[in-house]
């Protein structure tokens, strides 16, 4: 072996080189140590907190929404468990790719998932974004089995609103939809978070603050792909309050069955306190569709339906009252002392006023009639003359005092005002002065008058109960889950009708005779065992023609046919129920609306 190297380098040379290397190594390890010190000691607290945030997630536990019962404690609306799939972008890393993969697994529309992601673009990345609600069990199994391919995808069980009877009382109960950004920002819903459902219509909307409850919170430990490892801490949600409607589910069901296939509304009130016993509007909708998630097409079909299934015709529909308005005209004339119960007018079948002839619905005339008979047989000529004597503004004062032209104050949104025309109203609106002849039309409920079925029902109930106009009530009490009372809604009397006992007795007699006298317009409604008091009404859709003819009405196209009214209370003495039925384009009030009112009364009083 050659030893030449010894001549060029010696062990001191090596020692020097190796010392240099050692210094370098020491320096490198000191750098690592210093960095370690910086991360673990100097910044340690901060990183410890970050590591906590990494794996501790706060989840919101949705509070179960309050239940809805009818007056007898029958459950109408509850909540059922449903599976939702959401994505947490922080855990997903590439949220779009994961969403697309999920759409592929579930065979769902990719675009809808992506648009939900985009919509939530501004949210913090740890907030779950709901991609699809109400998954089937199969879909849940598919997601669970692909869990490792779907980081950040979480399945949660949420209570979902369940309208047990579908369409039953859907307009009164209302429906839910996802809370909007504006509502969230308004600050009025501190217990709601994005993705929550909120009442959008009906009682669901009016009593939202009771229904919603308070969300609970759950601290959970998650891993890097967002799977929950264990629950650290739970604060249970406070369920929403249970709401008891004044509704009688049996009567409601009967009412809806009677209205099947028709367009219109029916309302039943308890005359002694204004409780709404039934409120139906047709066509209707299934409120379950709104929580299950409606497609764009389904929604379009619903809102573009010519018969407006989404509107509650009992409070939103405004119709001329037809002959049912004669109650107001009679009241005004009696109270103003223009006629007495005995005052007679002769009806030849028409009334000449100025240079026009106003026809009675009966072409042959009613002959000489007093007020009670004029009510019972709905003699237009008699009421033309009352209108002529009263003048429009005096009549309007009474109509207003009867609760028309204003909201009844029922706790349901979007209630319509109706219209009580006055001379100044017409001048302001059209610039044309009131024509005296127009008063004649108003007096028999045609012309400009508009009422809602609920307004008419309040009025007929007040006539029945001796003159107290109650604010209609849809919810009687609100309870906690354990049955303790949270709130009781008392009966509120809005007005007293501007009528003496004698006046009301006279009107009542007219209403009784209308149903119980063979010549009365409501004879078809009479029952042997229940004494019903009622009034028919036929509201013209096209402006008043000189020649009115029921046969001709049936030949007209549907949209031009008359609306049919029937208002009633029963029993005639100390009534238990007041009913209003309106059938759009139903034709004559007695035949189209009367039998429905009769059956509602029979169902309620006789079970």
């Amino acid at each position: 072996m050659s030893d030449t190297y010894l001549k060029t380098v010696d062990s001191d040379w090596y020692r020097q080189r190796l010392s240099g290397a050692l210094i370098f190594v020491v320096a490198a390890f000191l750098v690592l140590l210093a960095r370690l010190y910086y991360l673990q000691i100097v910044r340690g607290e901060d990183y410890r907190r970050q590591s906590q945030n990494n794996w501790v997630r706060l989840q919101s536990i949705p509070p179960p929404r309050g239940l809805i019962f009818d007056r007898n404690g029958t459950l109408l609306v509850d909540n059922r468990p449903s599976f939702s799939v959401s994505i947490v972008r922080e855990d997903a890393k590439d949220a779009r790719a994961v969403a697309l993969r999920l759409a592929d697994f579930l065979k769902e529309d990719e675009q809808s998932f992506l648009s939900k992601l985009d919509k939530a673009g501004g949210w913090p990345s740890f907030k779950p974004i709901v991609l699809k609600r109400d998954l089937s069990r199969n879909a849940v199994a598919v997601v669970e089995s692909h869990k490792l391919d779907l980081p950040g995808i979480v399945i949660s069980i949420e209570p979902m609103r369940h309208y047990i009877h579908g369409e039953l009382a859907s307009h009164l109960i209302g429906y839910l939809s996802e809370i909007s950004e504006e509502q969230l920002k308004s600050g009025r819903y501190p217990d709601h978070k994005s993705g929550d459902f909120i009442g959008k219509f009906g009682v669901e909307k009016s009593y939202e603050s009771f229904f919603h409850g308070r969300p609970g919170r759950r601290k959970v430990q998650v891993n890097a792909i967002g799977q929950i490892i264990r629950v650290l801490e739970t604060m249970e949600a406070e369920p929403g309050k249970n709401v008891f409607l004044t509704l009688d589910a049996g009567l409601q069901r009967k009412t809806e069955a009677l209205l099947a296939g028709k367009v219109g509304a029916a309302v039943a009130l308890d005359p002694s306190n204004g409780h709404v016993l039934a409120m139906a509007s047709r066509p209707a909708f299934d409120p379950n569709a709104f929580v299950e998630g409606m497609t764009f097409d389904a929604w379009n079909t619903l809102v573009s339906n010519a018969f407006h299934p989404m509107s509650n015709k009992a409070i939103q529909g405004q119709y001329p009252p037809g002959s049912t308005f004669k109650i107001v005209t009679a009241m005004a004339a009696l109270e103003e002392g223009l006629v007495t119960r005995e005052t007679r007018f002769y009806c030849p079948g028409y009334y000449r006023y100025g240079n026009r002839t106003y026809r009675c619905w009966s072409r042959h005339g009613h002959g000489s009639v007093d007020l009670v008979r004029a009510m019972a047989e709905s003699c237009d000529v008699y009421f033309f003359q009352l209108g002529e004597k009263l003048g429009i503004d005096r009549l309007a004062r009474y109509a207003t005092a009867c609760g028309l032209g204003q909201k009844t104050g029922v706790a349901l949104a979007n209630e319509a005002l109706g219209l009580v025309p006055t001379s100044s109203w017409k001048f302001k609106k059209t610039g044309v002065p009131w024509q005296a002849g127009e008063t004649l039309s108003v007096a028999i409920g045609q012309g400009f008058n508009l009422v809602t079925p609920l307004q008419m029902c309040c009025l007929i109930a007040a006539v029945g109960n001796g003159g107290i106009l109650y604010r209609p009530v849809v919810v009687s009490r609100i309870e906690d889950g354990d049955g303790s009372l949270v709130k009781e809604i008392p009966a509120v009397a809005r007005h007293v009708l501007p009528a003496t006992k004698a006046t009301l007795e006279c009107i009542k007699q007219g209403l009784i005779d209308a149903v119980n006298q063979r010549r009365g317009t409501g004879w078809i409604v009479h029952l042997n065992d229940i004494k019903i008091a009622g009034k028919t009404g036929t509201a013209q859709v096209v402006s008043m023609e000189p020649d009115r003819n029921q046969e001709k009405n049936k030949e007209r196209p549907l949209r031009l046919r008359d609306h049919a009214w029937f208002v009633a209370f029963a029993p005639a003495v100390s009534p238990k129920i007041a009913v209003t039925v309106l059938i759009e384009h139903g034709g004559h009030g007695a035949s189209a609306a009367g039998p429905i009112a009769r059956e509602m009364i029979r169902a309620f009083l006789k079970g």
Binding site: A21, V25, L32, N54, K93
Partner: protein, 370 residues
């Protein structure tokens, strides 16, 4: 018959440090794979594999001890040639795993020839330098041959691509060359040249490699994407604080926030669970093994042993430095394992073989007179 002096001179300190490090490695690896939900199903196989690789490595280490390391001087060229051939075979017939072709598969066992290069290159260079070492240093005339010997495997490894291993090979070669001294003028020239190569090399980096470097410079730019690894590792290390979260209690590790926690980021697991005290102690042990390697180089009485010991020690040093600096967010993420701690068979075997060589040099220091 084994010389009695061989037994007397056996380097128990090196063996002790190695076994200590290996034990820490096993504990940390246990924590890294045990708590993780993702690889839970893999614990058994992973352990079996690592254990069998340790067996192979230990056998290789013991075998090496029995032969005089001068034997490596004689056969160095052949070992080197065999490694290069294997690298070519990998390039032609290797197995692709997640986009890179680094593995050779023999009967179900996969193996990375690039790991062997980390042993073969030091042998080749030590052999060459020991014959022409001088106080003035190497000139360009001396250096062009070793440069080619390094560039051939380096290029093959970069092509796989396995930037981390290629970098280590280059660093080993560079360290050894600097150790045997480069003549001043030549050193200046080489410095300028390599700066130029680095500049040009940037354009040949793959997009993901460039991105890693960019993200390293500013990890917060993409906290959920490429910066995620660095941030999560720093959180893991930092959250360990002074005393750590306790064995098997590291949440970053247990909940899989740490990427590659059983290979590249094994140090983060250790730092999270044992805190500053534990990781500082670990650094000290590592430092001791490197310092002891240099001590072996010092005590060897002949240049081949000294230079080879420096080469093997530099391999240990650079891998530890780069791996830990990466976990601490000081360097960009490159796939470099922590010798004796990270999971990975080929790496374990090559490290144990390197330790075997060091043991060999250490116990045969008496055979040469100073």
């Amino acid at each position: 018959m084994i010389d009695r002096r061989l037994v007397e001179h056996f380097d128990w300190i090196l063996l002790g440090l190695t076994l200590l490090l290996q034990s820490i490695g096993i504990l940390t690896l246990y924590s890294a794979v045990n708590a993780s939900a993702d690889v839970a199903g893999l614990i058994g196989p992973l352990y079996m594999k690592q254990a069998s690789w340790f067996g192979i490595g230990a056998m290789g280490m013991i075998t090496l001890v029995f032969f005089n390391y001068r034997w490596l001087h004689r056969w160095g060229g052949l070992i080197y040639a065999a490694c290069v051939v294997l690298l070519v075979v990998v390039a032609l017939a290797g197995r692709d795993i997640s986009g890179s072709r680094r593995w050779l598969v023999f009967g179900g066992v996969s193996f990375q020839p690039s790991e062997m290069v980390k042993i073969a290159v030091p042998i080749m260079l030590a052999r060459y330098f020991s014959d022409r070492i001088s106080a003035t240093g190497m000139t360009l005339k001396d250096l062009w041959r070793p440069l080619i010997w390094v560039l051939i495997p380096f290029g093959l490894i970069v092509r796989q691509p396995d930037l981390g291993t290629a970098l280590i090979v280059a660093l080993i070669a560079g360290s050894m060359t600097l150790f045997v001294k480069i003549e001043r003028r030549c050193l200046l020239g080489l410095g300028g040249g390599s700066a130029l190569v680095a500049g040009v090399g940037w354009f040949f980096l793959k997009a993901y490699q460039k991105q890693r470097i960019a993200i390293f410079l500013d990890p917060e730019k993409d906290p959920l994407g490429a910066g995620y690894h660095i941030i999560q590792s720093k959180i893991a290390v930092g959250s360990g604080m002074l005393t750590g979260k306790g064995f098997l209690k590291g949440t970053q590790n247990a909940l899989s926030f740490l990427p590659e926690q059983h290979t590249d980021f094994i140090f983060s697991v250790l730092a999270e669970e044992w805190g500053f005290l534990g990781s500082a102690l670990f650094l000290v042990v590592y430092f001791l093994i490197v310092a002891w390697g240099l001590n072996i180089a010092m005590r060897s009485k002949e240049p081949f042993g000294t230079i080879l010991a420096v080469g093997i020690t530099s391999m240990m040093f650079w891998q530890a430095l780069i791996n830990i600096a990466m976990a601490l967010g000081l360097l960009p993420v490159v796939g470099v394992t922590l010798p004796l701690v990270s999971y990975g068979g080929s790496s374990l075997v090559s490290t144990l073989l390197g330790i075997g060589i060091l043991l060999n040099i250490s116990m045969r220091r008496f055979m040469f007179k100073g």
